[in-house]
């Protein structure tokens, strides 16, 4: 008997390689944001697989809860803690990478040949009958969740409440020392000036030149050089600040003119 190629199989063979690729992205992409995106990709693909496995309810839960909520939470946190610090490629733990790959290979072998091998085979029964019992996949799931598993379901509500409270407690910023007053801050500033020579005044504003008042334009010092302190560090790291020679050129020209005039005066 020639096996029929079903839609399920087609879907699987398209989606599965993509999922593996996405998962590998988790391993190899150095920037955490890319890793998160590839993870989201895996999850969406997983939702597709759920659909092909007759699990319509889970398909949407997967997209809404996992991809929509959990992965977005990850992205938020990534933005909070800074997206600009890629993983270092230098392995600090000796032999960790090799050992990890070996252990991974062992794990794969264990699952596939051990557990998987003992369960594989057998025809698919299909869910039509189970779904039909209550008039559809969602209804049948609901009957199970609110029927046989209702106690577990109630427990999960307690778990979610606990998790929410826990997250709030952890997120709360407990003040360990009293808030510094203006006087403290002033004294601290003077102390830093006395000890380390830190300039006690405000930092120079950006964009003092009339032509450019954007925050990406550094201030010019009296000698025409650019003051690095006048622009945001983040902008400087990204390299989006204005080119400094172009800015200082006007000053340099003015200086030259003044010098020229002085020279003429001296000659005369």
């Amino acid at each position: 008997m020639i096996p029929l190629v079903t839609g399920q199989e087609v879907t699987f063979w398209i989606v599965a390689p993509l999922m593996v690729l996405g998962a590998l992205g988790l391993l190899f992409l150095r920037k955490a944001v890319y890793a998160a995106l590839s993870m989201a990709f895996v999850m969406v693909n997983l939702a597709v697989l759920y659909a092909s496995l007759n699990a319509m309810f889970l398909t949407f839960v997967q997209i809404i809860v996992y991809t929509g909520a959990i992965m977005m939470l990850f992205l938020f946190v990534l933005m909070l803690v800074g997206v600009d610090t890629p993983d270092s490629v230098v392995e600090t733990l000796k032999g960790q990478k090799v050992a990890a790959w070996l252990a991974g290979a062992g794990m794969l072998g264990l699952i596939v040949f051990g557990i998987g091998g003992s369960l594989a085979g057998g025809p698919q029964v299909g869910l039509d009958e189970a779904n039909a019992a209550h008039g559809g996949n969602v209804e049948s799931l609901a009957a199970l969740i609110f029927g046989r598993h209702v106690f577990v379901f109630e427990l999960t509500s307690a778990l979610l409440i606990t998790a929410a409270v826990g997250a709030m407690v952890l997120g709360q910023h407990a003040r360990v020392r009293p808030k510094p007053t203006q006087r403290d801050l002033a004294e601290k500033r003077m102390r830093e000036y006395a000890e380390d020579g830190v300039h006690p005044g405000t930092l120079p504003n950006s964009g003092v030149i009339a032509r450019h008042n954007g925050i990406a334009v550094p201030a010019l010092l009296p000698d025409g050089t650019v003051s690095e302190a006048s622009v945001s560090q983040a902008l400087a790291m990204r390299g989006v600040i204005l080119d400094s020679p172009a800015l200082s050129r006007t000053t340099a020209e003015a200086f030259e003119a003044i010098e020229g005039a002085r020279a003429e005066e001296d000659e005369s």
Partner: protein, 99 residues
């Protein structure tokens, strides 16, 4: 179609998640690897549900998702707290377990 292929896929994903936990130093990425492992397990359960003709696998998957949501909330809070005090999300930096 037998569930074998799904199981192989789930095994591969699970293994990748395991390796991710072990080699990635960014706590967030390691955490995502854990999520990947959970998803792999979910896939296996849904595949079995279809193969065995029962909905219990799907119910279990549902509960796993709920628990994963709770876990992620708390886990991310912890990561933020660590980041606040140590200015880093590298798990190597958090070797406070050692005296």
């Amino acid at each position: 179609m037998s569930p074998d292929n799904y199981l192989y896929l789930a095994a591969i994903l699970f293994t990748i998640g395991t390796i991710g936990v072990m080699i990635r130093r960014n706590a967030l990425v390691a955490f995502m690897s854990v999520e990947l492992m959970l998803n792999a397990a979910n896939l296996a359960m849904v595949a079995f549900a279809l193969a065995r003709g029962g909905l219990d696998g799907q119910v279990a998957t549902f509960f796993v998702m709920v628990v994963a949501a709770a876990e992620v909330v708390v886990g991310l809070s912890i990561i933020i707290t660590i980041y606040r005090t140590r200015r880093s999300t590298s798990v190597d930096a958090a070797n406070l377990l050692k005296l």
